[in-house]
């Protein structure tokens, strides 16, 4: 009886396995047209417009279908890496400058240079730093940005008004404002205290505004050990040690919900928060305004522009079609990019033609002010190897949470960066 039951069980198992295999074979053989997959974490209205861009391209190139697939934002880069490593990755995906270099060093990106004409390049803004430079390596273009935006110091009018404070323009004014605004219920300011590329992104402008920088890329040497770097490190250290900001917030430190709900009086927020904080937005009642990020005495205003770019996977079977789509979507199409930067997700565009179109859309409120004041003057987030991002993070953390002094930490980090560069052969 036992052997009979065993035999029946094995027969059932084999049949199920055979059916599954046959089904899989049929699914593979059904794919005959060119279909490329575009992954991004940009959902909601942003994802809606990106889908429209894909659909419009299919009307221009009927033989090519670009399918937009939304993937979770959490651990986005890990998901892409794992998928590419296992051969199940997308043909097109989005990246920001902060995580771009690793993919270039691994030859995981399509070279877009042959498809990108000088006429297209002339439409890209060349303000303080050309946005395309963050996505170039050894003279070749591997990604093209389609959005961008800076960060600003947002503040609650009611809280500053009650304390009798003007929005700070300089660092000493910022510290004074934080001191007056911090009480047992709220923090004066929200800073990103967690180590990582997000923290570095928020911290870089404080270094740049004093004239500091990370690398001399021509000579591949660190210039991080400067007084400007030290001052920026000390500023952040002072803010956390005096209790003006928290090491942990209930939400992400750059999430506008903190200032919207009155948990902080001032907050560094970027273009992503403007819709919610503006008139008609979720936190309209919070009555929020903004100024440039405060600078040191004698410093110069510089912003940090972040944003996503489209990248083609070198493992794609349709590299040519992928490159053509990316170039069309980011460097040729105008109307849908205007729609993306207004309706999809409030952001600036690295292209002059798109920004000109947006002036008729941003006519009032925070959106207009942000477009006029914040977007024009900035430099794109630098593309750095993760080792250098980590070294900079250590310096910031030591000044914030240990007894690190700015100049010591800046010089120590600079030496570590040089030590790394001595053996690093990847792209910069």
């Amino acid at each position: 009886m036992f052997y009979k039951r065993t035999l029946i069980f094995l027969l059932i198992l084999s049949s199920v396995g055979a059916v599954l295999y046959a089904t899989g074979q049929q699914a593979v053989s059904a794919q005959e047209q060119v279909e490329v997959f575009f992954w991004s974490h940009l959902g909601g209205t942003a994802g809606e417009v990106l889908t429209e861009i894909c659909e419009k391209y299919s009307t221009i190139e009927p033989g090519v279908t670009v399918t937009y697939e939304l993937t979770p934002r959490v651990d986005w880069e890990n998901k892409i890496t794992t998928a590419l490593a296992t051969g199940t990755g997308p043909d097109i995906f989005t990246l920001s400058p902060g995580n771009f270099l690793r993919f270039v060093n691994a030859d995981a990106t399509v070279d877009l240079t042959p498809y990108f004409t000088p006429e297209m390049e002339s439409d890209f803004s060349s303000t303080l730093y050309n946005p395309l430079e963050s996505f170039r390596s050894d003279g070749k273009l591997y990604a093209i940005p389609f959005e961008g935006g800076g960060i600003a110091l947002f503040y609650r009018r009611d809280m500053l008004g009650s304390a009798g404070i003007e929005p700070p323009e300089y660092w000493d004014e910022l510290l004074l404002a934080c001191d007056k605004l911090t009480d047992d219920k709220i923090y004066g300011i929200s800073l990103n205290a967690a180590k990582g590329s997000n923290q570095n992104y928020q911290w870089y402008p404080f270094m740049w505004q004093g004239g500091g920088d990370i690398l001399d890329e021509v000579n591949r040497k660190s210039v991080f050990g400067s007084q400007a770097t030290a001052d920026a490190l000390d500023l952040w250290g002072t803010i956390i040690k005096k209790g003006y900001t928290a090491a942990q917030f209930p939400a992400h430190p750059a999430d506008q919900v903190l200032i919207g709900q009155g948990l902080v009086a001032m907050q560094i927020v970027g273009n992503w928060g403007v819709n919610d904080l503006d008139e008609g937005g979720k936190f309209e009642a919070a009555s929020v305004d903004f100024v440039h990020l405060p600078k040191p005495q004698g410093g110069k205003y510089v912003n940090d522009l972040g944003g996503n770019a489209l990248v083609g996977s070198s493992k794609s079977k349709y590299a040519d079609e992928v490159a053509k789509f990316i170039v069309w979507a980011t460097a040729e199409e105008v109307d849908l990019l205007i729609r993306y930067c207004s309706y999809g997700k409030y952001s600036a565009s690295p292209r002059v033609s798109v920004m000109n179109g947006l002036t008729s859309v941003y006519t009032k409120g925070l959106k207009k002010k942000f477009a006029d004041l914040i977007n024009p003057a900035g430099r794109y987030e630098p593309s750095l190897p993760p080792e250098i991002v980590d070294i900079i993070g250590d310096a910031i953390q030591n000044c914030m949470f240990k007894n690190g002094k700015g100049l010591n930490e800046a010089k120590k980090a600079s030496d570590r960066i040089d030590e790394f560069l001595n053996t690093y052969t990847g792209a910069m």
Binding site: F2, N78, K185, A247, Q248, P250, Q397
Partner: protein, 293 residues
């Protein structure tokens, strides 16, 4: 003949019933472990080709001060967590053992509930409780006249704050195991001790604790292993900070893999951590079992 057939039938049945679990263990544990060891012999960023480096990753570990610092943090965590969970679980089990069955069941369930909560969910809830300005813990302290604490925002308090959350999550499970051990002790031992005039403390140290030896060994070893594997609470509440105050070994390995993209190196760290845990477990087993002998 019939006896032999029956034995064969029983053996085959046993193997047949064990086979699915063994298959799953092979697919999801043994093969990945072997794969991880293979990976640890290579340099790989997840995208490029793997480069064979032999024991190069292991040699690098010995020079990596950040790694050994994270091991130190893990040891500190273990030294705080294991005695606490042991003592609290045992104390609760002793209290519950004196209750009537229904009430014992009710309280047992209540204490066990946190164990059923996902680590990430529990961590986010506690993150709110720990909030320095608006969290309930500081509000309760303020009511008692105690100054507000930074908790997760303090390099001195962050690790113990994480230990408290782990304790809250796991004490119920350990309590149930202790309770089962206590209820298994024959009642006539206590009766005989009472006749001799033994007090509660004496009964505990002379009867209860010694007869719980096997349970004690089990709780100590499993708690130690678990404490070295803590990750969810750190990731959700502190992200290894502030500074690197809660940068435990597993979190350090995670960072090396998924933030630095040193997959081969992180795999080698995982094996070194495995060896550390194995040595500690064997030492514990030897010491505790030899004390019994």
């Amino acid at each position: 003949m019939m006896k032999t057939n029956r034995k064969l039938y029983e053996n085959l049945s046993a193997y047949f019933l064990l086979f699915p679990d063994l298959l799953l263990l092979t697919m999801f544990v043994f093969i990945p472990v072997l794969g991880s060891f293979y990976l640890s012999l290579h340099k790989w960023n997840g995208l490029s080709q793997m480069i064979f480096v032999g024991l190069g990753n292991y040699r690098r570990i010995f020079r990596d001060l950040a790694w050994w610092h994270s091991v130190g943090i893990s040891f500190l965590y273990t030294l705080m967590y294991v005695p606490a969970v042991f003592a609290v679980a045992l104390a609760l089990a002793l209290l519950l053992s004196n209750l009537k069955a229904r009430i014992q069941g009710l309280f047992g369930t209540l204490y066990f509930v946190p164990f059923a909560v996902s680590g990430i969910v529990a961590s986010f809830i506690w993150k709110f409780l720990y909030s320095p300005k608006n969290g309930y813990i500081n509000q309760a302290l303020a009511f008692l006249g105690v100054a507000p604490q930074l908790w997760l925002g303090s390099t001195k308090q962050a690790l113990i704050s994480v230990v408290i959350v782990s304790l809250w999550m796991h004490v119920g499970f350990n309590m149930i195991i202790f309770l089962a051990g206590i209820l298994d002790i024959p009642a006539n031992y206590y009766e005989a001790a009472e006749i001799d005039g033994a007090r509660s403390v004496t009964k505990f140290f002379r009867i209860t604790f010694p007869l719980l030896r096997n349970t004690n060994i089990f709780i100590l070893i499993t708690s130690s292993i678990l404490s070295f594997q803590v990750f969810d609470q750190v990731k959700a509440m502190t992200n290894g900070g502030p500074g690197d105050a809660t940068n435990v070994s597993v979190f350090h390995i995670y960072r090396q893999a998924f933030e630095m993209f040193h997959f081969g190196y992180s795999a080698s760290m995982a094996f070194v951590l495995f060896m550390i845990i194995l040595v500690i477990s064997l030492l514990q087993l030897n010491v505790l079992k030899s004390s019994r002998d």
